[in-house]
Amino acid sequence: MNRKRIVIIGATSAIAEHCARLWVAESPVELILVGRDLAKMDLVASDLRVRSPMATVKCLQADFIDPVNIQALVDRIVKDGAVNIALIAHGSLPDQQQCQKNLHLCHDALTVNGVSPILFAEAFSGHMQIANAGTLAIIGSVAGDRGRKSNYVYGAAKGMVTRYVQGLQHRLAKTGVKVLLIKPGPTDTPMTAHLKQQGGRLANVGDVSRLIVKAISQERSVYYVPGKWALIMMIIRHLPGFVFNRTNI
């Protein structure tokens, strides 16, 4: 039997983990979880094994920063068999004010949210191009659509990912490789627990993940999840500067 082989980078992030749950519920896939914290990944992996005893779940600890390690890790994964789907989902929401005061934090936020996902995508794209098959899904953010004072460092990193994906899509347009960028709006996860307001301003992580898993099986190149963010961000992108700069968002 030909099992789907799925790699998730940043597998302990809430959105990635919920995607994994959906994938194992769908079919007995082979999942390769990649993350920094092995103990936490083990919790995620044993949960997935209970949910689907037929699925194979493997954990790999990884360095998210060093380009040599990233290349070696991806090479090792691909050596064991072709990857059908690679979901690049890691990131962390920095405190904007702290980033303004401390350039180390600013640098780390740009690296982990911008440079690191791009290096992973680049490593996978080479293998997928040779195989002429595979789906590369990268989680960006609506924050990357326009810089705003409340989180532009994170936004800049995610904006870099957006430009990168555009280029990669251009490069692989004539191949069998599919590249898609997913831009979640604010989602109710531990990363955003301190932002949670009453009244449903944050999307449910289960719903967001369902949309992502569905998007990955479809053909478009950019997905906003939930879909309403496509409209909201179109308006925000087009607001003239003299209006935008008076807003408090």
């Binding site: 936490k40 044993s46 949960d47 209970v50 531990p190 627990a193 301190h194 307001q197 009453q198």
Partner: protein, 431 residues
Amino acid sequence: MVAVSSWGKLGSWEHQIVAPNDRNQVFQQLQSRQLGLAYGMGRSYGDACLNPNGMLWRTTGLDHFISFDDNSGRLVCEAGVLLRDIQHLTIPRGWILPVTPGTLLITVGGAIANDVHGKNHHILGSFGDHVQHITLLRTSGEVIECGPQLREEWFSATVGGVGLTGFILTAEIQLRRVSGSWLDTETIPYANLDEFFQLADSSETTWEHTVSWIDCIYSRGRGIFMRANPADTEQRLEPTGRKLTMSFVPPVSLVNNLTLRPFNAAYYNLKRRQAGKSIVHYEPFFYPLDNLLEWNRMYGPKGFYQYQSVVPRAGGQGAIQAMLREIARSGEGSFLAVLKTFGNRESLGMLSFPRPGVTLALDFPNKGARTEKLFKCLDDIVREAGGCIYLAKDARMPRSLFEAGYPKFAEFLLYRDSGISSAMSRRLMGN
């Protein structure tokens, strides 16, 4: 700070929120100078799940299964797992949660902390009766492993302990064999309380699930009795699971003097015409409101109370009759009204609610002093009858009624965690 309300939406209060999602790291996150409280789905109606101006530890990120044995039906999971996720995982594999309340949208931790009950109390007791093991993390850092035969005093303090004995990290639950998702049901109208008690008593040995809807407008106590047993039936088409959301808070309660009487009359007459036997899927039978998300908004911006009491069977019928008379006279109430007998068994939790007797649960739109005046009359009847009020539903009972209704409360206080406090504990236990 984040504004949080409980299911009754009587108000919203500022809280600091911490959301652990790694059970190895929870202890570090409990460390703060503020007193905290575990918060799952916020389905407690009153103030049991609130800690205004303090800390809430949201448990819904701790939603990992740890192990499940298909042969023995033993499930081990983190406390933030929803009952819904357990049912969806295990029913296709032939196992079901033995006891569930009227919603599956609650966490395992919440089900233990409130020792919830279901329609089969007379056969299977309450949720805590099926918990085999709890790992409890105290804010001091001490980890207490307890169960029915292991440090039993900690177990019986924690089951029904409304979250005050520590942070429940994981639980082991014994599931029950099930052959499918279908139930043989029977619906029988009753015209008064005599008929209700006859039905309830005669169903006790032969029917696994019993419950009744009661029309709170009629003081004689007319209603619809429903009973069910697991069906030995072939696979049928599963329900679609289509969900509707109450997407706004109406400016006034949709349950009011204009709507209540016609709605209750229509419901009673419809059900009377539909009386008889049928085969029903377990979800609409047990959890009729789970497909109407955020239904608690229908009571408008002031929210609502649920008043759920239990009174012993000796004198119980008189007490229920007296409560119904008060409620009918006040013209308050809602169509969400349930009357049910509990089985003749004590619960294991020191503060567990289920006990031998008959329980009446009614929603009341919050009308301030008018509602409280009615509750005081009901309190007197409950106190007189030797009954008590369910902590998971309560937002206002006086301390004296709590102490009278929960005679083991003094013993319970010995097991409290000094780093934990809730609006309810401050109201009923002084801190």
